[in-house]
Symmetry: D2
Subunit: 312 residues, 4 copies
């Protein structure tokens, strides 16, 4: 499989490096504004180790012009990571207008690319919407990474709270909504119908895990590291795997809500396959309905901000 990656920041570069170790990626097409600084040195390093790669035969770098566009046309899926990251002390919202223009530029480059586009650029729900509206293909072919990271963090947090502790992959829960503090945790009561374990009620545990998830990114930053990386990259790999193998796995990614007339994108559990987003599975719970209402409100206010700046 040929995977296209746009952008060479920490996430773009980390993703390319990770793709080469999978068992299904045979080629990586890496596009960035400039190649000299990051893309070329990385590719040289990767090429020298391809004898160890299970399936990859080459990694190519292309500039963000017609050469990049032509190379991406052969990709089975494209991941957009370009755009500015959150500045110290800033929020994802600060990036809204600036990154919307970056996203639009790359969508023009992709032109009539018919495959699935995974948007990672923040603020991700709005950027997925911007990309989807600018593309000439059905909305479902554009997917934002959404709350897949919050879902992973929620599971990790719950895993450390149950007794006995278990591996995060043995705890099932979803975070839905927008990729910010408005996300809504949805427990899957694996603790038994009592909903309690050792006297702690599930609801309290979930609330407390929710707070921990909100703190998580801050903890990573505060710890002096490069910011959240691992859950994002593995989340992207999960989406790629679901799309190229058409597994129709249920993932909490940012997808088009067809019930909205303003093309809102936000995360609900959704079946992901070759055509992109399939059935949306919205949990029928009051807390979810209320939480999603707040998310949609936030998104509509962002749309106003974009409009005020003449970004469609």
């Amino acid at each position: 499989m040929n995977v296209g990656v746009i952008g060479a920041g920490t996430i773009g570069a980390g993703l390319v490096r990770r793709l080469v170790t999978t068992t299904f990626v045979s080629e990586v097409t890496w596009v960035n504004r400039t190649l000299e600084k990051k893309v070329e040195p990385e590719i040289i390093d990767l090429q020298q180790g391809l004898a160890f790669s299970p399936s990859c035969r080459r990694v190519i770098g292309r500039p963000a012009d017609s050469r990049g566009a032509e190379a991406l046309r052969r990709a089975d899926i494209v991941v957009l990571t370009a755009g500015r990251g959150v500045r110290p002390g800033g929020t994802r919202g600060d990036l809204l207008v600036e990154n919307a223009r970056v996203v639009e530029g790359y969508v023009r480059l992709l032109a009539d690319y018919p495959g699935v586009l995974v948007v990672v650029t923040n603020p991700v729900d709005m950027m997925a919407r911007t990309a989807a509206r600018a593309r000439g293909v059905p909305r479902q072919r554009t997917i934002g990474l959404g709350t897949i990271v919050e879902t992973a963090r929620l599971r990790a947090s719950l895993a450390s709270r149950v007794s006995p502790v278990r591996a995060a992959r043995e705890v099932w829960a979803y975070a839905v909504g927008t990729h910010d503090d408005l996300f809504v945790p949805v427990p899957i009561d694996h603790l038994g119908p009592g909903g309690t374990e050792q006297g702690i009620s599930l609801q309290i545990m979930i609330e407390s895990a929710r707070t921990e998830v909100i703190e998580a990114a801050r903890r990573v930053k505060a710890s002096g590291g490069d910011g959240t990386l691992f859950p994002i990259i593995e989340g992207i790999v999960s989406v790629i795997d679901a799309v190229v193998h058409d597994t129709r796995t249920i993932l909490t990614v940012s997808v088009h809500d067809p019930a909205t007339d303003d093309d809102l994108f936000y995360s609900v559990p959704c079946r992901i396959g070759r055509d992109g987003a399939g059935e949306r599975i919205v949990p029928d719970m009051p807390s979810v309905h209320d939480g999603l209402d707040r998310c949609r409100e936030r998104l509509r206010s962002d749309i106003e901000t974009l409009r005020a700046q003449a970004v469609p």
Copy 2:
């Protein structure tokens, strides 16, 4: 499987990150002199994504004291990456005395650890020897990463030279000897008995690939990147896989030459399994014999250097 990793430089940290994506590592025990700067932020990031890990349930960080020693005792294999890296303009040889002391310190920490120790610290052949002599277990339980990287680069280089080009994993060749410019390329004539392809003799192709391999690390550095990383990490993963699953795969790693009375370590194709280094398979070719003679000479001169500094 519990894999112990000592050191938190680019290679140590990259290795920990990679191990979490394998299908067989259930726990990583990460030991470093300090935990605050690199180990703890990395672990926080990794933990938040463990829901995506196929087999890993936790990554723990421990300081390089009795707590680290105790944690490493439970590891199925330990990889030593600590030590200073090559300085700009310097060579691996410059690190000889300084890193020998680092290695000795960690071997004391490991005490009577009975498992396989993989040494990555440079100059790797000498460091594997130092570690092996300081440990109280059979020499074969210590393996240096050796020329596994040169082998990968040689295969990549040859793959790009044959016609039609092929994937590096479809070209078979070995680099033997020491992990420096004295390594010897051993062709496995996959071009057919004629030994030529499109008029280029195999010997010329190999010589030219040899030069390219020597230039490879320089190209990576010159390109402005972080230095060679991918082939090293994937090489380590190959060794770990061979040891913990007892596959007895043939790898060109730095192993003890029992025919030398001064405990030389250098790379030859060697069967790697649970007990560490098994049968050494030395190609019976004049170019290999001559090349290995030069490697052994170099190593003996390094031994003199160490002795002059009272390092055993």
Copy 3:
């Protein structure tokens, strides 16, 4: 990893064939009373395709005598599949006395083998108990396959009943108790706190899935096939993976209940790792307590039957 397999019936032979396709088994040691009829032809076929195997380098066959015993001593884990299968129209209980003697014979052959023994022979809970008592190692080193198959069937059944249907691996539930009609389904309410979906209450859905699971083996037989095979073999592979990689995955296998003074073995969710059975995680639900009481009663009656036949 060296996996020992005892028995060459449909399950033993199917297991050996499957192990060769994994990424972690490097050697299979296959022991059977006779080698000519099944073991040798199978090994010839497998050997001719080992070039395709990711990690296996050989499959060896040994008779059930001192040669087999010696070979099994090198195995990292042993799976016991020998014994008579259920006769048409018969039940697993009919095999109790006969297979207990088979199991005892093989445990004598294994002598002081210290590793984990996975018992697949039916009736599996009783056979795990018989094996564990005859071995000279802690009870936790013996694991019966238990209701791992009922758990798989329960998940498959529920997956087809929810709306929209999902993949069985995206539905979480456990079957606990004995490997017969007394097993107890434990829902993990993935349908949301309401416990209903499309008007069907979870309890009704679970009851109906329970019936379907009981019918499942019958359906397989009635369909004219070879009987249940795939869920059993994949269940065994899951247990082997958890043990050799020490993943401590939670599986519903038949393990020793230390609270009983007559060494009962039956399935509860249990953490499986290198030492065999770890923490048992018994769901604190009335339906589970009642169901397990009935299972223990059945097992005690089987113990009486064995005693009456002078089987310990």
Copy 4:
């Protein structure tokens, strides 16, 4: 990925069972003349274990009529295993006319299916040719399994003859030509330029391995087993993996020789990817040229036989 399998003999059924354990097959579409006897019981067994499958969400069975045709249209690749097997004492050639009609029937069913068709039906080189000519797509979209099995056997045989013995996957050689006794072994001299090991010349070793490969199928049969199965199934999985992931791996499969005006199909190392057969890499050795001449002669005589029976 959706893999279509036609036929429910030992190979068809074994293939379906194996596909469910891969990490990339999400759906299997199984077509056979009758479903009751084999397909349905197998599917019931497989479905009950799908909770263990890494990526498969369903296996569906369809009859060999318009329903089968419609289901196969959604497959990413189709494998044709239908047709009569070699009778005891018979040869693959005996099946020529009979199986050509079976193949033609299924090609009509596939109609304008645009994807890659892998032909396993024997005599495989002629059946690949028959299928390719009957299909309305470029010849390269049809691939016969060819000598992939002889290649595996040759590597296994050589692996047991070198000293020290090694794993079959660590020995590189190809068998080219037709899938019968006329195949030609092509050594890749992994023994070093001397071409000898322990006094045995490579040429003698290869000749002797060649004989062993010819005997191999006979040994399997004579041993009382079901005939060759494992190398065939793993060979098919390799081809599927190469096609659906577009790895362009070099495999010795039966492909169209564009230099012949009668559409001959036989095996040479060939790059396999999404479009089917890519570059053919014919070893430029006298023994190969002579051997392939004999193979082409045999195929032309088979074409005469078919013509005499009015099969195109």
